[in-house]
Symmetry: C2
Subunit: 170 residues, 2 copies
DNA sequence: ACCGATTACTTGTCGCGTCAACCAACGCGT
DNA sequence: ACGCGTTGGTTGACGCGACAAGTAATCGGT
């Protein structure tokens, strides 16, 4: 049953090496900047962005969870904290009384808008501006290919709505 | 003092979107596989690999921390657990009695060797085999460029020894 | 030789995420 | 209309990592 897996060659292990190195550094760098300048976790930022970019004024927990690749408990905890901080409101849904609708408060919108420029600047500084246009295209294709593989994995929701991409200053 | 940061265009935000999506999925996928098949965290795996690949039979905490981009407290905790599980030994260093040397036990080496094939297989399945040779090269360059930016950041150690790259089945 | 500063690590506390258990509401079949 | 499986969400306990503080040894100057 156990298939033999070929060792990696130089080309492969270099790419893998780079990927893992980036993994161990970039997320914490992004988190640090947001935390320092805006008191937000990257994930909190993503949740607020998702709400802000949604056409509807309010979203269901499940919808946010799908859009952000988060588990429901995680989202629930985070929304609890955000609500305590007054950035978000939860209200029971009228049509389906199991569901809860989450919406941005004006404070939440304000905080988000305050946080966006710094976050974009960091994204530029660490990633976008480090790459040539060709590399940007290549990166899009590469991540697309990898995400496609991940979608077939057990344990992951296949398709996500994906908000943060259109990072705009509203 | 506050500089205006241009919004992202389509090309840029697509790349950024892909990157963040990958970030939210790939690490957990890798962790899950290792945890399920070998009872190891990805980071524990990296620590064991670092020890295994080192020319010396033993490494100082600081050296491992640098090689793995980990903080010293984190590494200390992890080594504590690994030691309790018998995969690693800590012994005070003779020349510098502040330092502690960490070494693989034979159990640790055995567990690591058992874990490697599955990990490589997953790396192949989710990343390497999803990409063309050209994309592999592109990925190496891209991660290199980003890591270079990260090296200039405050809070990160610039250069790391980087073990996992040469994933081999010893 | 001794005192302050630095290095090398450890320990404790706290926050976040996961997992498991739980509860409430919906909805379908009979 | 009743029961049972499913869906939507919350809660609690545990594990891991970050941060801060503490300890112990070494170095460097005088």
């Amino acid at each position: 049953m156990k298939r033999r897996v070929p060792r990696m060659n130089d080309q492969e292990s270099q790419a893998w090496l780079g990927l893992t190195a980036m993994f161990s550094l970039l997320p914490s760098a992004l988190d640090r900047q947001l935390q320092r300048d805006s008191g937000l976790t990257h994930f909190e930022f993503v949740v607020l962005s998702t709400l802000q970019l949604s056409p509807e004024p309010t979203l269901r927990m499940t919808a946010i969870a799908q859009a952000t690749d988060a588990t429901l408990p995680r989202l629930s905890h985070v929304c609890g904290r955000l609500e305590k901080r007054g950035l978000v409101v939860r209200s029971p849904c009228a049509e389906d009384r199991r569901a809860t609708n989450v919406g941005l408060t004006s404070d939440g919108r304000r905080e988000l808008i305050r946080a966006v420029p710094g976050h974009i600047a960091t994204a530029r500084r660490l990633v976008i501006d480090a790459l040539t246009p060709d590399q940007l295209d290549a990166l899009t294709e590469i991540t697309g290919a990898i995400i496609a593989r991940l979608a077939d994995e057990p344990g992951n929701p296949p398709q996500a709505y994906r908000a943060e991409g259109s990072l705009t200053q509203p």
